[in-house]
Amino acid sequence: MNINHHPDETTILSYAAGTLDEAFAVIISCHLQICSTCREAVKTAELIGGSHLEQSEEAPLSQGSFGRLLEKISVEPQAENTHAQSSASQSNETNQAALNPEWSELPLALQSYLTTNIDEIKWKRLAPGVSHHPIKLSENANSSLRLLRIAKGKQMPEHGHNGHELTLILQGAYKDKFGTFAKGDIADLDDDVEHQPKVISDEDCICLAATEAPTKFKSLLGRILQPIVGI
């Protein structure tokens, strides 16, 4: 996969710190699977976390803390008779699929959220040529995640955005003033960015989109659909 668009550095930093909300973190995780550049960037940011950990003060542990941990270790099946050599080769085999730098059916991070493959998804039509599939997140999530499907050749009307938005292309490609976005690319958009994307692939363009809150998506939708449906 040839990746040309990566998340903003501030998004990488927040991911590493663990402060991105669920929808955004899912998208970054999907991208990391196929982008070694961003994996390195995340690891650099994680060094900051490690450095804070080393410099941290020490909290008193509860009585017999290590002893309790050792008891857990001896009942963990994984820890029983584990020989490093065999466990290493075992994990190698079981991870073969995961080691593939390409996504197989779906990006790993998305697999736990979807019960079907992309081809079997039930799409809900929003407007001619535009449909979506909302993805259920944890109850306390402060963000919203959905698959968007835009028909080939479709030109979206010019629209702005409200709050932080991340879009990851899973299939097909679109073009706007920021360039061409194809499979694996991320559009990391902020407030007050206006664009007019057009699908340029031979197939429909499917992306995974994170917005800050469901209402933000509705307002975005309003702006996208207004010229189409004439409301």
């Binding site: 402060t19 699977q33 900051i48 020490e58 909290a59 542990l61």
Partner: protein, 199 residues
């Protein structure tokens, strides 16, 4: 014999630079020999720190103790995967604790943070030179972080120690989100540059 173990000292002698090299060594002993003594040494150093960091992030002492235990259990179970992460031991343990904290409130069965060591291809043991470079980077990140202008340092600490989002930081400090981002970017670029130069 380990059941008799009573309590873990919560104070320790000051950190010497050699200790980071030792952390690599300890982790290797755990991975190769399932060495419980090595694990105990790693525990003595990291467990009180992991717990302190978790407590700063709004966990009460009991939750922090539980999450710390889960973190250290994962360190034991995944010690052989560390070579795939290819980084510093403290950064790796930080990511495990971070993911445990996040797992605590996510939807059952879903996983939105990726374990990098699960997808990396390389799994040769880190050579002594690589460990040296890794330690050098570690030291640099600490040095650079400590010399950042106060307004950048503050934002980095709010992100990594208090785990506040960009929006939360902007509200708390009463500054525009754009300012939070530009300070983050400046800090990160400085750190990234120093890390790349250590190559």
């Amino acid at each position: 014999m380990y059941v008799q173990y009573k309590s873990v000292p919560t104070r320790r002698v000051d950190v010497t630079k050699n200790e980071t090299t030792d952390h690599h060594k300890l982790l290797e002993l755990i991975a190769l020999n399932r060495d419980k003594k090595a694990f105990e040494q790693l525990f003595i150093y990291f467990a009180p720190r992991v717990k302190a960091v978790l407590m700063k992030q709004s966990s009460d002492a009991n939750t922090a103790e539980d999450l710390m235990q889960e973190t250290m259990l994962t360190v034991w179970n995944k010690a052989d995967k560390f070579s795939k992460y290819r980084g510093s031991v403290s950064a790796w343990i930080f990511t495990i604790a971070r993911n445990k904290r996040i797992d605590g409130y996510r939807k059952q069965g879903t996983k939105h943070y990726l374990d990098i060591e699960d997808i990396e291809l390389t799994d040769d043991a880190m050579g002594s030179e690589e460990i040296l470079i890794s330690n050098e980077r570690d030291k640099m990140v600490t040095d650079i972080s400590n010399t950042l202008p106060i307004e950048q340092k503050e934002i980095i600490e709010m992100s990594f120690v208090k785990e506040l989002s960009q929006t939360e930081i902007s509200k708390k400090l009463g500054i525009p989100l754009g300012t939070v981002k530009s300070r983050m970017r400046l800090a990160y670029e400085k750190i990234r540059k120093s890390v790349e130069e250590a190559l």
